[in-house]
Amino acid sequence: MAFINLKEKLIQAKIVYYGPGKCGKTTNLEYIHNKCREQINSKMVTIKTQGDRTLFFDFFPFDIGKIEGYDVKIQLYTVPGQVKYNSTRRLVLKGVDGIVFVADSAEDRRNANVISLKNLQENLALYKKNIFEIPLVMQYNKRDLAKEGVPILDIKTLEKDLNEDLKVPSFEASAVEGDNVVNTLIKAISATMASLEKELK
């Protein structure tokens, strides 16, 4: 649920990075936070476990400038990916306007990707949101693993597993190296803003 301040002409919208545990959601946000400092006036908020895993969420607001005369502030969040943290994952999804689904390209994470996407669909349904309607961008992360000799899933397989029905924009990425991290976000923001504009008309 985006908030529109008609007095100050300000829009706040929420984009959530979703995906299985250790797929690189936090790494995406860390890269953006480091790379786009001019548009981010806040420190990144993180709620982690002792083992440095996301316990609740990572967060920072991102000013993307003016759209149709409105200043737009995008609130970027991650969810905890581990299966056991589903209740907190649901809380973070409250009021979500757009989603980046970060899939892990490692071959042994194939099933975890599918389970996480299914979990996203179920959790969205709790808020009466449809995964086929909400602005969604798919990111196939960790493509760099191939260079280290780690077996990775080919794009055709990932598309078939995760995007055959959804048919949303997708990116091959490496959050560690920054490849396509910003492009993924730009696409998610444009899809979210297009959807918002459509609903406002």
Binding site: K7, F60, K94
Partner: protein
């Protein structure tokens, strides 16, 4: 479904927070929605807090507490109070969709704050949910 508030509503919210809370010594008063968006933020002139981060954390904190309440067999715990050495936090439900977050120091008594917060919540409901007063 999105939330849009016009200038008149936002001015009324600002005036209520300012006159009822800031004027009695509250440092920061923040109206937020349960998704973590900042609706209105008022401070005592010293802009010392990152309100966007506070709103995200406050919404998460309250949602987690609401979930715990349900597990404990309660519908919800309608307020949260955290006492620090110098600064204190008071977080209260306004309605299903809105929360009021207040930071205050030890010069203020919790009893007075609770009275004032109750008044502000009444004002806010009248502005945000006009039918609530009937």
């Amino acid at each position: 479904m999105h939330l849009a508030l016009d200038g008149e509503q936002l001015d009324k919210i600002y005036d209520s927070l300012k006159s009822t809370l800031i004027e009695i010594g509250v440092e920061t008063a923040l109206l937020l929605d349960t998704a973590g968006n900042v609706i209105t933020s008022v401070n005592d002139g010293a802009d010392r807090h990152d309100v966007y981060s506070l709103a995200a954390l406050a919404a998460a904190n309250f949602s987690a507490m609401r979930s715990m309440a349900k597990i404990a067999g309660e519908e919800e715990f309608s307020l949260l109070f955290h006492k620090g050495q110098k600064e204190n936090i008071y977080l209260s439900s306004v309605s299903d969709d809105f929360l009021l977050f207040v930071i205050f120091n030890n010069d203020m008594t919790l009893g007075l704050l609770r009275l004032k917060v109750a008044k502000v919540i009444g004002d806010l409901l009248g502005i945000l949910v006009p039918d609530s007063s009937q």
